[in-house]
Symmetry: none
Subunit: 214 residues, 4 copies
Amino acid sequence: MQEAAQVLEEAQSELSPQQLIGALVKKGELTDPGSPRGRLLNAAARLFEQKGFSRTTVRDLAAEVGILSGSIFHHFSSKEQILCEVMKEVTIFASARMRSAMESAGSPQERLRACIQSELEAIHEQAVPGFSILVMEWRSLSEASQKEVLLQRDEYEQIWLDAINTAQCPGGDAAVVRRLLVGALSHTYSWFKPREKGLTIPELSDRVFQIFAP
Amino acid sequence: MQEAAQVLEEAQSELSPQQLIGALVKKGELTDPGSPRGRLLNAAARLFEQKGFSRTTVRDLAAEVGILSGSIFHHFSSKEQILCEVMKEVTIFASARMRSAMESAGSPQERLRACIQSELEAIHEQAVPGFSILVMEWRSLSEASQKEVLLQRDEYEQIWLDAINTAQCPGGDAAVVRRLLVGALSHTYSWFKPREKGLTIPELSDRVFQIFAP
Amino acid sequence: MQEAAQVLEEAQSELSPQQLIGALVKKGELTDPGSPRGRLLNAAARLFEQKGFSRTTVRDLAAEVGILSGSIFHHFSSKEQILCEVMKEVTIFASARMRSAMESAGSPQERLRACIQSELEAIHEQAVPGFSILVMEWRSLSEASQKEVLLQRDEYEQIWLDAINTAQCPGGDAAVVRRLLVGALSHTYSWFKPREKGLTIPELSDRVFQIFAP
Amino acid sequence: MQEAAQVLEEAQSELSPQQLIGALVKKGELTDPGSPRGRLLNAAARLFEQKGFSRTTVRDLAAEVGILSGSIFHHFSSKEQILCEVMKEVTIFASARMRSAMESAGSPQERLRACIQSELEAIHEQAVPGFSILVMEWRSLSEASQKEVLLQRDEYEQIWLDAINTAQCPGGDAAVVRRLLVGALSHTYSWFKPREKGLTIPELSDRVFQIFAP
DNA sequence: GATGAATGAGTGTTCATTCAT
DNA sequence: CATGAATGAACACTCATTCAT
């Protein structure tokens, strides 16, 4: 068990968040965070998460990256499109991250635990912020945009459903369990602060795992 | 034991949601839903839940009860105050409802299950709508208003914490378990539709109970 | 002939522009020019005519009647709706005016001349300004609004077509002649200034009549 | 005389619109339509005519010729200057065209008819589009630009006035008749579609001629 | 000459809130 | 208490124009 953990850590350490992002940027799946568009998306993710989509103005957003509000519309056609793009890129990054976490997980139980921890890290880590937006601001998206995001989201959810199914969780079919987990995990954004002393993300992951896969 | 349960059930059946509301109105804890103020609060609960607080205008609200937007400010000093009042009244009603559900629950396990079902009913039933607002629109509230609502909320949460503690749920301390439950249950608003054939509220309560208190 | 003219003038003098407007307001066909909405429509007619629709801002319009730009949207749902309403009211007034002019015209020739003079007066008089907008800003209207205005316009054009037909104008079918007249008359807005010494409206009407019905 | 006319006609038939443009380009009076500036002017003429000046953006214009909006300002100092240049070139071309049409006209009546047909062709033909802009967008021009265009326009109008005077049209002095004609003819842009079966340009010219010079 | 990013003043519009009637 | 008109600040978005590269 300890050895396994060590191996995992090493495998993981081969690909830091920055390196993962870099690889995705090269493949053209993510916007370069250094480009104006990328800086805008990062700032948007941060602000939409902190203040909410409708309470964030395009002026806030522009100020955050040091341009004027009008200039935003060189890169995006509307405020809503920014939200949509943020969600798509966040989903792509979270998928890649979770796939990478999956690879180093051996048993079905470990896989589910890795899923939980990966999503909690996505929610609370700052590497590519904005994961909690996916749940919290879903209704701010037009139906057309929702479909676009769902297309990207499918793969991510498939990993989850597989993990839940193979881990033989209680609570009936995997879809219901996953939805309960979505709620439980995304809501942690509102109360769980990993920086303060107290629960750490791995500890919280353990708790959640204990509940959903005893 | 069976007899007692029967008596309780009868007692409960004597108190329909409308009767419960009536009793609370008489005690001055709830606004009369027939009064202008009450109709406004009900309409607000419905609209804030359906469209979100910031996407609901005071004009929408006024139109819903058949007055003009200016007239709203004879009853409330601001839009935010309406949200605050809705939340307080919803909390009061949900508390009364859950206390009543508690009374007919015998074992600790039954008590927790009653809590779960009561909250799911609060979220998905229409009697006093707006329960999901408590979680979803929490950030739309000023800090001052949050404190006001928290004052009311305390009692409600205490019932939950007792139920979790006595049911000996896994997942560590009751506060964490409750918060995971808050997320899991409130998020059902987004995907669970009790009207369509499929899962019913009692069935869903069972699933949740199975997971959180195996 | 002279007597007839005298009688005509008397008949006409019974209904001044202001009185005609008053009658139409009473019938509910025109907005009261004293009401906020009416003052807005009059100002819009003036400004759209002077500066063009797209060069007139809602702020210009608001300033003209002494309110703030936001207040306009209490009375109209959009800038385009203002243009549409202006056009409809202008058409209604012009129709009533022309009908009234028709009544005092005896021969077919006189009827056509009355049409010409009535339209020239509509273009250059100030009583209900905005007639030239009907031609000049037609393309600023959405198709839906165009249909609305055309509904009102039909009656007005019918009077014209009858007059052209009975006057036996050269130039083939009445529809073509009318369209040439529309262009010729509406363009006078750009070059004909009745106030300066020179041509008067009756004189210009004579010239046009001479050309189109020799 | 007849021989001369024949020669002229042949000469005319030798000079297609493209050839006429070519000749004017060589003389330095028109911009080469193949040059970037020329393509810009042609696109502008088309767009300003179709959508109106203020509803056409420089981005539309740039897209039409396949460059970016910023690049336009290497060729013109402002959007208004583009309109001004379009008007000047259109006027030059229309003048040359009408002069050429005059040469083959024998009688005063024929001359006037040739003027009418030439202007209708200018409005509805596609060779050098934009003639209708001269009337429809006149007010979009600054006074300084108006003067510039008027300088070019003078010769064109002189031909018209001569033709009207010698044809002994009714309706008083030639200036007024010409202005009525300007309105009547330019407005045909809005209703006359030569492509559809029905009236042809020569037929419409006949009708107009019949009215203005019976 | 072209690009692409940015500007900055301005656009139509929204909306919670006020207040005389 | 309700109305209806108005407020005024804020909003997302537009667009002609500039300019370093």
